[in-house]
Amino acid sequence: MPPRTPRLTLPTAMVLLAVSRNYRYGFDISDATGLPSGTVYPVLRRLEEAGLLRSRWEAVETARSEQRPPRRYYTVTGSGTQAVRDAIDRYPTLDRALDRPTPSPEPRPA
């Protein structure tokens, strides 16, 4: 299965934009976009597979200090940045809807 660029549906655009606005974790993206987690995750998978997003794991020490397992976070890749612009072009109102202050602290990669 070659990676193909996912269709820019509204949920896909919302997720992409949320990640570009520093909502990096699955549940945070779900909160920011109002989409159920069952929609957000498959979209994240598709975007990552298409190379528009990439994911890493949060530093183990950070998680361990809070006595919880580490979380996985997502960032927009170079080609993803162009897709974000496409998304904004296509859904102009979305840009304002999601334009909130940076929500979660910058994760330190492991």
Partner: protein, 906 residues
């Protein structure tokens, strides 16, 4: 195929999740773990780590110890449900063409091919599973979840208990001095507290006066429960002493509803029963122990000489470390024995025992809830049988398909797995819908639950309920999936492939199996219908019990005259004047038919006091008989519709300073004057305050008012003249000519025109009070009847299904019979007879099972034996009739078989 462009931290992904800040995994982990099995194994650990990481983080941010709101848990659970589509996405993208995904796809396709079948199966499963989860949500909250206090398993009540087994004399409550002695002498408890419950008039500048449930408590109560106020502080030991300045703690609900959640409430003044008090604390939401308490205040060590005779306190203790219930029980029994010797008259026959707090709170509802859970489980079993039947029917229709697949090399194990997959897929869809049913069902149950069910506010869908639902789904899928799968795997391919391969041995065996299933379905339905019918009959009997008064169009409201303005019991002039006046004013209204004033309304058991009978040898001190004390104003019996059997009523002339009179009830006459005429005899009881007579002539006998509720017989009761036996707090009972509710505003206006500061909120109708007294029976009866109707319907569908199928199979046989001269009526009889035979076998088995099963209803029925022959006969006939009706449709179809058409198809 591409790999995910990630650089997973292997140790992070594979390491088991460390426990959360206070241990325990976040809600939803189970769902993720279950979904992980769908994810291809090479990606499973990483996938699971991502979901658990998010859940654990969200949980660590939102949880708040034991007080984490259910909504937070449910929100997380719903989040976790997103793992289902995600896991399926993984399976579809990376799973390759595994057998499981083939099976899944094939199952989904075959379900889509039979939409009607799939819809019926999924909907019945959703209802069955959902109803079970809804009932379980009650069981979970009420019976299984620990009480919301610190180490609740160590909390015990110390109850009073009669040493001679006669509970009329010694109740569960204790006197304050007894409590103080037990606290001083016992070693078994690390803490002991006492509390009472008292209707309390609360007034204040910021709110309307009101009567609320108040609780005098010892300062030790809140620390012992491990509950601290949300605002302010608990009571100090000094505030618990007599003569300390008045303080009060209010409930969160009281704070919100009466004080508008005023943040500066601490330090403000209110008045409790006319005495000033300062609010020092506000309890956290939903804490209303004991009962539905709105305001707590210090008990203040009542130590007057007569205090040992006033048993209004309940003792609660925390077992000291290492002490067992048995040890504590022996110790308190020993202390009670010492007290009995020290205070022979006041503590005669007064023992003590400990009971676990949990058991005391939920023990009474356990049988009721377990019966409901058992019944709803039976419904699910019937659903399973029915679905299995539907699957078998479809399996027959698919014989050809199976034969083709077998011929192409599908092994029997593979085929069986295919059918199991199908049953799991429909169950999975049914369970998701069932969750919706459970959510709404549980809401509906809570809003209709009788007040006798404790902890109703805690009922909801939580992790345990979801886990239960998941387990239920798996078991369900196995129960109804295995039979068709077994049948399928034993298919007879070659025979089936032949055109018109009817009458094969496989087909006959299948029909036998389906008939067996129908028989068991009928049997299960019989058990449920018998149970429901017993409850309906018992409820009907309860409704027909003569309550001893006429509740129609009657308003009931309690008036509490504060001692600060009306004087105490010893000086009742103002009290008597008030009631005489209010009586006159209400009675003069044209819309009022009659008015009664009484210290107890006809459904209030009230309290008892001891007496002796004049002219008889007095019993030893402390062993005098007791009777219910019920002072009334003249005209009471006529006004409430109680039947005067002999003698006369209480009259205007029975005033203060006149000879004391009393009217007794039948129970009193039966117990104390079995072979004598009580009229003219006298009862003697100490005069409690000045001017009160100390002996009373029995002037009348009245039929029993069922003041203990319709289920229990009335205790002996003595009705006095309110003028001779005056109390400040009395009930107004107003019977209107038309609609009672419409008179409420007028009633309020009338009373408030006399005294603007009297609280008058809880004006209720007597019908409502009577309804409340049987609310738990109504709840059980309604639910069990609903289950029985569903069971009956499913059994009817089952019978119909099997017969319709049989008729279709036997069309040509019937055609031959008719060509040979069989009458339509005999064909009709043949098919209906077939259905009725199945039903009769089922009824016989079911009745035998019901004889044993209905024993569990013993504590729930009233006036009906659990083996009531009438009920059993009725159910047997009804089920047979239903079976005959269900059989009639296929029978009619069979009788219309055209022999020519039937034979042509051969």
């Amino acid at each position: 195929m591409t790999r995910l462009a990630t650089d997973p931290e292997p140790s992070a992904a594979r390491e088991p999740a460390p426990p959360g800040p206070t241990g325990g995994s976040p809600p939803g982990s189970v769902i993720v773990a279950a979904c992980a099995t769908v994810v291809p194994s090479d990606r499973r650990a990483e996938w699971q780590a991502e979901w658990l990481g998010e859940l654990a983080y969200a949980w660590s941010v939102r949880r708040r110890g034991h007080d984490t709101p259910i909504s937070v848990r449910v929100a997380l659970l719903l989040r976790a449900l997103g793992a289902v589509p995600d896991a399926i996405w993984f399976r579809r993208h990376y799973g390759g063409d595994s057998m499981l995904s083939q099976d899944l796809r094939y199952a989904l396709r075959s379900l889509a091919r039979w939409p009607g079948f799939s819809a019926v199966v999924i909907l019945t499963l959703a209802l069955g599973i959902g109803a079970n989860a809804a009932i379980f949500s009650i069981v979970n909250a009420v019976l299984l979840r620990p009480l919301p206090y610190a180490s609740p398993e160590r909390l015990v009540f110390v109850f009073g208990t009669p040493t001679d087994g006669d509970s009329a004399k010694v109740g569960r409550s204790s006197s304050y001095p007894d409590f103080a002695d037990i606290r001083a002498r016992s070693r078994s408890f690390s803490q002991l507290a006492a509390f009472s419950v008292q209707q309390t008039t609360v007034t204040g500048k910021q709110f309307e006066p009101g009567i609320v449930s108040g609780a005098p408590v010892t300062a030790s109560l809140f620390p012992m429960l491990g509950v601290s106020p949300l605002l302010g502080r608990s009571f100090s030991a000094e505030e618990d002493r007599p003569g300390a300045a008045g303080v009060a703690i209010i409930s969160n609900e009281f704070w919100q509803q009466r004080l508008g959640t005023n943040p500066n409430v601490i330090g403000s003044s209110i008045s409790l029963n006319g005495k000033p008090a300062t609010i020092v604390g506000v309890m956290p939401p939903r804490f209303t122990f004991p009962g539905a308490t709105a305001v707590w205040y210090p008990a203040g060590e009542p130590n007057a000489p007569q205090a040992r005779g006033q048993h209004s306190f309940t003792i609660l203790g925390r077992l000291a470390p290492g002490v067992t219930m048995g040890t504590a029980d022996r110790e308190v029994a020993g202390i009670a024995k010492q007290l009995e010797t020290e205070y022979p008259s006041l503590n005669a026959k007064r023992g003590a025992r400990v009971q676990s707090m949990t058991e005391a709170i939920i023990g009474n509802v356990r049988p009721q809830l377990l019966v409901l859970l058992g019944s709803v489980a039976l419904v699910l079993l019937i659903v399973c049988v029915n679905v299995a039947n539907l699957f078998l029917a479809r399996a027959t229709a698919r014989t050809h398909e199976v034969a083709v697949r077998t011929a192409f090399g599908a092994g029997s194990r593979r085929l069986a797995r295919q059918f199991l997959t199908e049953s799991f897929v429909v169950t999975a869809i049914g369970s998701v819908l069932g969750l919706v049913v459970a959510y709404w069902g549980s809401k509906l149950l809570v809003s209709n639950a009788p007040t006798s069910i404790p902890r109703a506010s805690e009922i909801g869908i939580d992790g345990h309920v979801l886990l239960f639902l998941l387990g239920l789904a798996v078991v369900t899928a196995l129960i109804f999936g295995v039979l068709p799968a077994l049948q399928m795997s034993r298919g007879m391919p070659i025979e089936s492939l032949r055109e018109g391969g009817r009458g094969t041995r496989g087909g006959l065996a299948r029909r036998g199996l389906r008939q067996a299933l129908v028989v068991s379905e009928v049997a299960l339905a019989v058990v449920l219908v018998v149970g429901a019918s017993l409850l309906v009959k018992s409820f009907w009997k309860m409704q027909r019990v003569d309550p001893g008064f006429v509740p129609d169009r009657m308003l009931v409201v309690q008036i509490q005259l504060p001692q600060s303005r009306y004087g105490g019991y010893a000086d009742g002039d103002r009290v008597r004047a008030f009631y005489a006046d209010v009586y006159r004013r209400i009675a003069s209204r044209p819309e009022v038919q009659s008015v009664a004033v009484a210290m107890q309304h006809p459904l209030a058991p009230g309290w008892t006091s001891s007496f002796t009978i004049d002219g008889r040898e007095p019993p030893p001190s402390g062993q005098e008989p007791e009777s219910s004390i019920r002072p009334v104003m003249p005209g009471y019996f006529r006004a409430v519709g109680a039947k005067l059997l002999r003698g006369r009523e209480i009259q205007e002339s029975d005033g203060l300073g006149q000879p004391g009179v009393t009217v007794i009830n039948e129970a009193f006459a039966r117990l104390h004057f079995p072979n004598e005429d009580p009229i003219g005899r006298r009862i003697v009881r100490g005069s409690w305050w000045k001017g009160m007579p100390d002996s009373y002539e029995i002037v009348g006998i009245v039929a029993d008012e069922r003041f203990n509720g319709p289920r229990a017989p009335a205790d002996p009761a003595t009705y006095f003249s309110l003028a001779q036996f005056t109390f400040n707090d009395n009930w107004l009972l107003v019977r209107t000519r038309t609609d009672a509710k419409a008179f409420v505003p007028t009633l309020r206006r009338l009373v408030w025109s006399m005294d603007r500061d009297l609280p008058l909120e809880n004006v209720q109708t007597m019908d409502k009070l009577l309804g409340d007294s049987v609310a738990d029976s109504r709840f059980n009866t309604a639910l069990l009847s609903l289950f029985a109707v569903v069971a009956l319907l499913l059994a009817a569908i089952g019978i119909y299904g099997v017969l319709a199928y049989t008729v279709a199979q036997r069309t040509s046989e019937i055609g031959i019979r008719m060509a040979l001269g069989a009458q339509r009526s005999s064909v009709l009889r043949l098919v209906v007879g077939n259905g009725v035979t199945l039903a009769v076998i089922g009824v016989a088995i079911g009745a035998a099972v019901a004889l044993v099963a209905t024993r569990s209803l013993e504590r729930l029925v009233f006036g009906v034996s659990t083996t009531d022959p009438g009920v059993f006969t009725f159910v047997a006939l009804a089920l047979t009739a239903v079976a005959a009706t269900a059989a009639a449709i296929p029978a009619l179809r069979a009788s219309r078989v055209d022999p020519i058409v039937a034979l042509r198809s051969e």
